[in-house]
């Protein structure tokens, strides 16, 4: 294998460091130094290190071999019929998306603070913001946050800037990861995240609870998700703004669902957040993801994160720049609306390129077909003993909750995995201290799943059911 010998070069060990023909010596000479050690005389001796113990340098083919050795221990989604979903989805992204994201003018650029040299990224981000405004139905989007969960966290803090109070309401059905992230965002200013119970039959929000909480005058915001953490489409969402009145209303929405569902702005959302990964971004074991955030224009000066705006240049030509920066940490410091600096710009680019290549009709078709697959599977599982699918009697789109009456999600999933089916993911909080919850899975067919794979899922579930699985 080429380069497998530990070849040590006279100067640079790694060719990514610039060192042609011993150029370092020339730089040292120019500084009147004999050794580079003199450059570190300001580091106290007591703070100096011996060896780090990170191993010897390696040539590129060895690095490839090492990383491939590890990746070979993974079994990628393509080897399975996948029904994994939740906030992170596995969908096909046309190769054109990666071709654009791989343009090094985009991916090796920094934050477009020097706007004149960065019009490409700024314009792409302006198009991205416009797309999220269109999907969400509210006025102004920012240029991205880390992921859907942190976008929800930022929305919580945003609401507190708009309204007094101590309590922030979220559905009890919200994924536990998101509840945990929200609790962390709330903890700084000493706020409380409170769970709205759901109806055991339908999985829908208890609106009476919301009414009572709002009447107590201590609620500064409420977040509801579409579809919710159980995959349920809750018609109660249309009534929330009426109940909340002036209390800010946050909707966490799946962007693909919004290609076929009413935009949250139309039923009173003040903020719309979401996870954008499903639009052209590979799941990559969970990151990078893409946090979506949009709000009403009158509140834009309270919004977190970078925002691109249109202006003109010195010759009157249209030009784009980061704007309203006095909200941000590099200017406002401790009084900034958020600490965020690095965001997910490249992922925002992937999002808008994906939507543009697939087109609104293609997106609506994709959502329709995923909903059809989910329905077919739920119908096949419905009659089986020991499991309930869908668990909740409510409309749903591309995902639904499956409950195992006799428990043992792990055993069920393992049984399916042996038939090359990834059957969903457990909804329970895995932390030992967490409250015990029913054994439920969120099941979300991927676009690659066809009748055959659905039949395989159903057959494996049937076998599990017939042998008294979980009992």
């Amino acid at each position: 294998m080429p380069g497998s010998g530990r070849r040590v070069r006279a100067t640079a060990l790694v060719r990514w460091i610039s060192d042609e023909a011993g150029e370092e010596a020339g730089l040292l000479r120019a500084l009147g130094l004999t050794s580079a050690d003199e450059l570190f005389r300001d580091v106290p001796k007591k703070a100096r290190l011996g060896r780090l113990g990170v191993g010897a340098s390696r040539e590129e083919p060895e690095v490839v071999a090492e990383v491939d050795r590890l990746l070979d221990r993974n079994r990628p989604l393509g080897r399975f019929a996948s029904f994994l979903g939740g906030r992170i989805s596995a969908r096909y992204a046309p190769a054109a998306v990666d071709a654009i994201v791989s343009r090094s003018e985009f991916y090796t650029s920094y934050t477009p603070y020097q706007a004149e040299a960065s019009q490409g990224m700024l314009r792409a981000l302006f198009e991205f913001q416009s797309l999220w405004v269109e999907l969400s139905g509210v006025d102004v989007a920012n240029a991205s946050l880390y992921d859907g969960a942190t976008a929800a966290g930022e929305a919580l803090l945003f609401c507190r800037r708009l309204h007094e109070g101590r309590r922030f309401l979220v559905p009890a059905s919200l994924p536990w990861e998101e509840k945990s992230v929200l609790a962390n965002y709330a903890s700084g200013p000493g706020l409380v995240v409170e769970e709205i119970p759901y109806d055991a039959r339908t999985g829908r929000l208890d609106l009476e609870f919301v009414r009572a909480a709002v009447a107590a005058k201590d609620v500064f915001g409420l977040l509801a998700d579409v579809p919710n953490g159980f995959g349920v489409l809750d018609e109660g969402i249309f009534e929330l703004k009426g109940i909340l009145g002036e209390v800010p209303f946050v909707v966490a929405a799946d962007p693909l669902a919004l290609t076929v569902l009413e935009p949250p702005g139309s039923y009173g959302a003040d903020v719309v957040v979401g996870e954008g990964q499903g639009f052209g971004i590979a799941p990559s074991f969970g990151g990078p993801l893409l946090g979506l955030f949009a709000c009403r224009k009158e509140h834009v000066r309270q919004a977190p994160g970078r925002i691109v705006g249109a202006s003109v240049d010195a010759y009157g030509r249209p030009a784009f720049t980061l704007t309203l920066q006095t909200r941000e940490q590099h200017i406002r410091r401790s009084r900034a609306t958020s600490n965020i600096c690095t965001n997910e710009s490249l992922m925002a680019l992937a999002f808008v390129v994906y939507a543009s290549v697939v087109g609104p009709r293609g997106l609506a078709r994709l959502q329709t077909s995923l909903a059809e697959k989910a329905r077919t599977l739920a119908t096949a599982l419905g009659p089986l003993g020991g499991l309930q699918a869908p668990r909740f009697e409510s409309p749903y789109l591309g995902e639904f909750t499956l409950e195992l009456a006799r428990g043992d999600c792990a055993g069920f999933l393992e049984r399916l995995r042996r038939r090359r089916v990834l059957g969903g993911h457990p909804l329970a909080d895995p932390r030992p201290g967490a409250a015990r919850s029913p054994e439920r899975l969120l099941v979300a067919p991927s676009p690659w799943v066809g009748e055959k794979e659905i039949a395989r899922y159903a057959a494996a579930a049937k076998a599990w059911s017939a042998t008294g699985g979980g009992a």
Binding site: W16, I17, L27, A36, P44, K46, L49, L52, S57, L70, N74, G86, I88, R103, Y107, T108, S109, T111, Q114, A115, S118, Q119, R123, A124, F126, E127, S130, E134, D139, A149, T150, E177, L233, L258, E262, A282, P283, S284, F285, P288, V300, G309, D313, Y315, T323, T326, Q329, A336, S338, T342, E344, S345, A355, V357, P360, L363, A364, T368, A371, P430
Partner: protein, 500 residues
């Protein structure tokens, strides 16, 4: 002087398609009519070649590291190895769902575990978490851990202050505020922490002192051991902002310097691409005393198997949807494995050498407010420009016309008209000389020409005041303001800008 960025009169993507008849959104069986989107999404239906050409043209109006030198101080804009891009796109890396059974993701778990160990050695901490999504997110997570730590000791009510030097990145005070602390700035002396001022400010109300070392003036805080001692004597914790770790790789590390917590930016020191502003990855290291508070899950090794461990009763919980930005973790892993011990030391040596070389040359033209020996970056003051009626901003814009990115400007705030310059180890002597010569040429240029810059970029100097005063933030705003903003096209063009 031969640089000229592409200048496409490219319409917005929604202007590329002719209006089409509105097609109703399909009804989905089982979904009540009330949910159905009444107005279909207004976004163009375009062919793939049209979309690709549009974004390719936009890319040509964007400057990246592969285009030219990117001397942004505190940003560590180094070359992003191409092999990492290839590896991160392998199916075994990209096509992995975080909710797959652990038995099917042993490779991702092992790579994560190994990277955490490598970063532990590089930072001097027993435990490292890859969960935070960026540097600021790492700071914020750390401060939540600081809070939890003092809560356990019954001191949370009292320890409400976070101290930081006036050279601190803006994210530090912003993170501290978000975590519910009050911030206090410690004035610097000659660009470094004034130890006496710090001692005077420390009290039993102090929770944490946040410090970047080398700091944003490019100086190594040589009194770091005394600083650590003073902070710990007050019962407070010391936090390391790892933005500038590049300069000291293998020379020293936060653990040895006495820090309790640290974040690193994989998108700086470990060469993962900045992506036009992100994604990043903000690794978090902690001492044994603070490690129990790290976010869950933790990756653990049991025999030959790896698994996610949620059994950490003191953990602050989660700060992000999944575990971390694995796509970037993998790139950083490849970077560290390639460099190894000697390569990492070489990075520190060479980045410091580059900074000192250019600082010595440009120091002959512009004042250097602090001591001459710097680490990976240095600060100049553009104050002399003011006599000629120009500013640091004009100098920065003028550099863009040379095919060189501008340095960080107006930061650190304690230097008037500051230029903060960092030239990482991947920049050749030729690039260093070209950069210095470009700055010198700009200094010799006429004030009129400087104020007119840039002229070689896709657009000329942008009216930022107008952008903030009349915010037009989306297609929707543009439509609303139609008429107020001149439409793009020949009739709106007041003439050709001067040639570069």
């Amino acid at each position: 002087m031969s640089y000229r960025q592409a200048r496409w009169e490219e319409p917005a993507i929604w202007e590329l398609a002719p209006p089409r008849p509105v097609e109703a959104v399909p009804a989905i069986p089982g979904v009540p009519e009330r949910f159905r989107r009444r107005e279909p999404v207004r976004w163009p239906e375009l062919s793939e070649p049209t979309v690709v050409r549009h974004y390719t043209r936009l890319s040509q109006m964007n400057f990246g590291i592969d285009t030219g030198t990117y001397p942004l101080g505190s940003c560590t804009m180094k070359y992003n190895p191409k092999v990492s891009e290839v590896l991160a796109r392998r199916a075994g890396a990209a096509q992995i769902h975080p909710y797959q059974p652990e038995s099917t993701v042993q490779g991702s778990l092992e790579l994560t575990w190994r990277l955490e160990r490598l970063l532990g050695k590089i930072t001097g901490f027993p435990e490292v978490s890859l969960q935070p999504a960026a540097g600021a997110h790492g700071e914020y997570t750390s401060l939540l851990m600081v809070k939890a730590h003092f809560r356990d000791r019954g001191e949370a009510e009292r320890r409400t202050e976070v101290l930081l030097p006036d050279t601190a990145h803006g994210t530090n005070p912003a993170s501290a505020s978000m975590a519910g602390f009050v911030t206090r700035e410690i004035p610097s002396k000659d660009g470094c922490v004034d130890l006496a001022a710090l001692r005077a400010a420390l009290s039993d109300r102090t929770a944490c002192f946040m410090l970047t070392n080398p700091n944003t003036a490019g100086l190594f805080e040589s009194e770091i051991l005394e600083i650590a001692e003073a902070v710990h004597a007050a019962g407070a914790l010391l936090y390391y902002d790892g933005a500038n770790l590049n300069a000291i790789l293998g020379v020293t590390h936060p653990g040895r310097m006495g820090f309790d917590l640290a974040h690193l930016n994989l998108h700086k020191t470990f060469a993962t691409p900045h992506g036009g502003g992100g994604p990043g990855a903000g690794v978090l290291g902690a001492t044994e005393a603070l490690a129990p508070y790290l976010p869950v899950p933790r990756v653990v090794k049991q025999g030959r198997r790896f698994r996610l461990d949620y059994d950490r009763p003191k953990s602050i919980g989660k700060v992000k949807t999944a575990y971390g930005n694995f796509g970037l973790d993998l790139r950083a892993y490849a970077f560290i494995v390639a460099h190894g011990e000697e390569g990492l030391r070489h990075i520190a040596r060479r980045s410091v050498l580059n900074a000192n070389y250019v600082a010595a040359r440009l120091g002959r033209r512009l004042p250097r407010p602090f001591r001459p020996l710097v680490k990976h970056e240095f600060v100049l003051s553009g104050v002399p420009l003011k006599e000629r009626g120009v500013r640091t901003l004009d100098l920065a814009k003028r550099l863009l016309d040379e095919g060189i990115h501008a340095p960080t400007i107006y930061f650190p705030m304690l230097v008037e008209e500051a230029l903060m310059i960092e030239l990482p180890e991947t920049e050749s002597p030729r690039a260093l000389d070209e950069f210095a010569a470009a700055v010198e040429r700009a200094l010799d240029d006429t004030p009129e020409h400087l104020r007119a810059a840039p002229t070689a970029c896709a657009v000329g100097r942008i009216d930022e005041v107008r952008a903030a005063r009349e915010p037009i933030l989306s297609w929707k705003d543009q439509r609303a303001a139609a008429g107020a903003v001149p439409p793009p096209g020949p009739e709106a063009d007041p003439g050709t800008p001067p040639a570069a």
